[in-house]
Symmetry: D2
């Protein structure tokens, strides 16, 4: 029991929409990228990672997105197929756009950074023509991540997907995933994030991301309960607010709040923590688990991924998570 009711008897558990890109992870770590010689290529992008994670956990997954008409784009589609994600709604850009890139630099477990290539990217050329009502209505969950709202025509495609999802009672999960470099201004971000969040059932973001969305409120206090209530007044049932190293809190429309446990881990890098958490948390919600259990499952998944070199490729199975939880040491916040 977690406050959500998913429409049953639908062939697809979860459809991700939005960013599909390529991570180029430094092979030589603990040094600045200037001194890195080689990189390994992985599929990346928050909704891609979450969808891959969901599929690894056994969910029937699909994706609505757009890839570049080149080797990078074909690599992405191939990888999604290999991970048993339905790519019938992944279309190929015809405008000469490229695949977004993220070069990662791992100076230390605490000091990781990303060099992004986000000019003229294929994922933001997704358009309303690429969004199928017939496809969306076959799903229990639509997963939206915020970066897809950063530019036209992708922004309009997401709003149309949200309309179809609401019409057909598809549960909408919004992972805020704010990336400043893809936006013109934080004002613009706040406006479109709010318009989208109004229509979502579950909203997952950091405290800073919620503050960003609420920047137009006068005499604003950064207060979790007020934030959660503001979105419950629209359509939200669960609002998850992440407080960094202090852990996350899930607020529910019944007025309660929940924390999940956290596990000790041998951290290689911090990338991918949020995406792996989200995929396992969503898995738990779909199983009907109560929120603390789903959160703990998410934490375990995150602990596994941050100990490995990639994000997408490191996403664990249910067995791996269960195995990890048997032996991992819990941290009490």
């Amino acid at each position: 029991m977690n406050g959500l009711s998913f429409v049953q008897n639908r062939p697809i558990d979860i459809i991700g929409i939005g960013r599909l890109c390529v991570d180029l992870n430094a092979n030589e770590i603990h040094r600045p990228m200037e001194e890195t010689k080689t990189f390994t290529k992985y599929v990346g992008g928050s909704p891609a990672n979450i969808t891959i994670g969901s599929s690894r956990l056994g969910l029937n997954a699909g994706f609505i997105g757009k890839v570049s008409n080149d080797q990078m784009g074909r690599f992405i589609t191939n990888y999604l197929n290999e991970n048993e994600i339905d790519t019938s709604n992944v279309s190929v850009d015809q405008t000469g756009a490229v695949t977004g890139l993220a070069f990662t630099e791992i100076l230390s477990p605490e000091d990781c950074s990303i060099l992004m290539y986000r000019d003229n990217v294929a994922d933001l050329t997704l358009s309303t023509d690429d969004v199928s009502e017939d496809y969306i209505k076959q799903a229990k969950v639509l997963l939206v991540s915020g970066t897809a709202l950063a530019a036209s025509p992708s922004r309009e495609a997401v709003f149309l997907a949200l309309e179809y999802a609401r019409k057909h009672h598809v549960t909408v999960i919004f992972d805020v995933d704010y990336r400043p470099y893809t936006w013109n201004s934080s004002n613009e971000t706040a406006v479109y994030y709010s318009l989208a969040a109004e229509k979502c059932d579950v909203i997952i973001g950091t405290r800073e991301e919620f503050d960003l969305m609420e920047q137009f409120i006068k005499d604003y206090e950064s207060d979790d309960q007020k934030t959660a209530q503001r979105w419950f007044d629209y359509n939200a049932k669960i609002v998850v607010i992440k407080h960094g190293s202090e852990g996350s809190i899930a607020y529910t429309a019944d007025g309660l709040s929940h924390r999940g446990g956290i596990f000790k881990s041998k951290v290689l890098k911090t990338f991918g923590a949020g995406d792996s958490y989200a995929s396992a948390f969503i898995y738990g919600l779909l199983q009907g688990w109560d929120i603390p259990r789903a959160m703990e499952f998410g934490s375990a998944s995150a602990s596994i991924v941050i100990s490995k070199h990639s994000c997408s490729d490191a996403m664990p199975t249910v067995d791996e998570i269960n195995e990890f939880m048997k032996t991992a040491e819990k941290v009490h916040l």
Copy 2:
């Protein structure tokens, strides 16, 4: 009684937001513009015209907009001031934008066209920074016209104004006013028009404009009752659908529909009919008149304006409209 309840005891009756531009009307009419020698300059733009019309009718009016930092911009602000419209929230662009222009060509009463200058226009540089919650909450009505949704940052400014208006129970009237040349695609238009219309109390548009907004609906039928119901399901109380020469029908959330009378008129040009109609119709709503009476008052105002050379400058007073209605011949549709 018209289904609307305005918050009383507010100092401003109506605030317009959006386009402020200049009309250059051909002085030599009944010929192609190639042969026109001289033009007369007027303030124009749908929300400007409606606000000017409202002020002429005695309403306390204000405007949220942006004008170019040149002679054209100063002309507009001066004209609004002369018409007793509060311009404290009309700001001046600092980016080098120009005032939008509309050159009109009047070949015959039935054959009028407009040559628009809409590149780099100041009205679309209105931003969230220019929208004041304190100002909006002083008004009974916020009047939005659709062109302001055509581009950033004006689009975000309008969505923020809508949020403030809803928060403070300001009645929102949406005049669709679709101008294709300001948009990238009809898909984009449909998405943002719908997001705005969801938040409005009164929606006024042509049958074609509603069809445009509903283009993503499968197995769509162009049906007034269905259209009205779709918006009642959000926040609308009145939906006015214009059918050209067949007149307009106002649908109300109680399931009724209404027509107002139409008057015979000596037509000089068709420009300005919609704006003068809207200002007088809104005036009637604010007086608490029933809908047919407000519509008839709107029709009378339109009949006056289309017999004159300008739009804005020809907006009538209450006395002029009453005088006209005493003698004008009604047309039965």
Copy 3:
């Protein structure tokens, strides 16, 4: 004898290339444009004015340019035709560009200003495809004005025209005509103006315009003789440097410099002085007059135009200039 030798037996005396636009001149003068009510429409743009002036003086004239596909564009083409200018190489833009506008404000004879509309203008969409070698080789003179170098593809079209002109020994006259608002930076202007000026036989500009072109020279002194010599070292035979109210000086490759007389005039506005001067000066050069005589003829033409309301429409005939010179009072500088 003026240092130029034109190829004889060519059917066209002069071809202008570049800007074709519309002037909207305030009818109510001696007041700020905010208070102007009506405007009169004329063809404008420096090369257009010079070419119209040349045709009025009896030269066989043609034009290479691009006009908008609307009433303004057709007005321009019609006006050129009425003035017996060959428009076979004036093409019609198909990209939705508009005609550039210049609203004039005449506060006093000394205080005139222009409000320009130069976004998305048709004249700058002229491309290499619109430039015909066969056409250019029929002319004695190609007249280039600098604004056409401000943006692609017009800039490339002008460079191609220059190449054809040099190949076929067409005398090239370059009127610098610097308009800052059409350029991204003065650095960019200097580079392309210099590349063009290198290929020209006659260069006409203000002292400030030559300083702009020479801004990259170290330890620069603003010195007419050095400026003239710099261009003689390329291809120039005549360099005319305008010193505002102190008059113009024409430098010739033989080391001489020349001044023409100036006439008293009843000045209405200063617009059009340079263009009318240029057209009559070029006329004189083509007649084989010596330079002082051509300059004086130019001055007389300018004196006539600045006493009238328009630029293009006020361009005088040879008889009008001669008549004026009989009675006008000469000013000695």
Copy 4:
């Protein structure tokens, strides 16, 4: 004796100007890039490669360019410094531009392709402010490659560098290096390539590149001798026209043409052949060698580079080239 006379007693032998970028070469070759897992990072870009090659051969080299303000940019500058290239005129972009990338795919020695990232690249933000007359006048040779002409403000920077070079008798070598994806149209390319080539002493390009530059010539024949003569009529002394597998021919202003020998090589990939050829050919010219000897030296350098994994990092020393030439088998065309 090769027709060139370099100004002696200058501290710098050669300054490259233009593109500095990063190559990401597939480590797993003979497969499509979709299946490549890892990439190795090298400095790339035609003028960068040629300048690195020149420095390896013992020339005093410098560079005028702009790099991104991130790890990729610092990697490039570091690498140039390590290769003893003066980077005092390599500036750092402050606009948020990125380093251009070239992902290489090596399917077979004959079938290599490149996936380029050229949006918003730092090298094209080089501006006239970054070009120092004092620096250029210290050099014997300025090496220009055509890609730097593709966009503003880099294009203007190159034209200014050309002006300084001519003023101070710096020998200008133009490597055409046409990359269609950086240009808007081939017309635009032809115009700016021609304006640059007019001012150069040595022009190196493929037959197709010269055809591109000469596309506006009526009744055009693709003929080496005519092409060479056209540029001799401006400032060229040597024109090298590459005919792919049929080898290159160098034309000189004295009417002669020359071929250099070609060597058998174990080809890994074709990338870098032109750049290594150019650096060794220029080295030879600077030594005062006759043209066939300089060409043969160039061929030997190219044979070495195409047998290795990188372009820049594989550039040979004089000893390596001499060693190679002792044992390599010559091919007779």
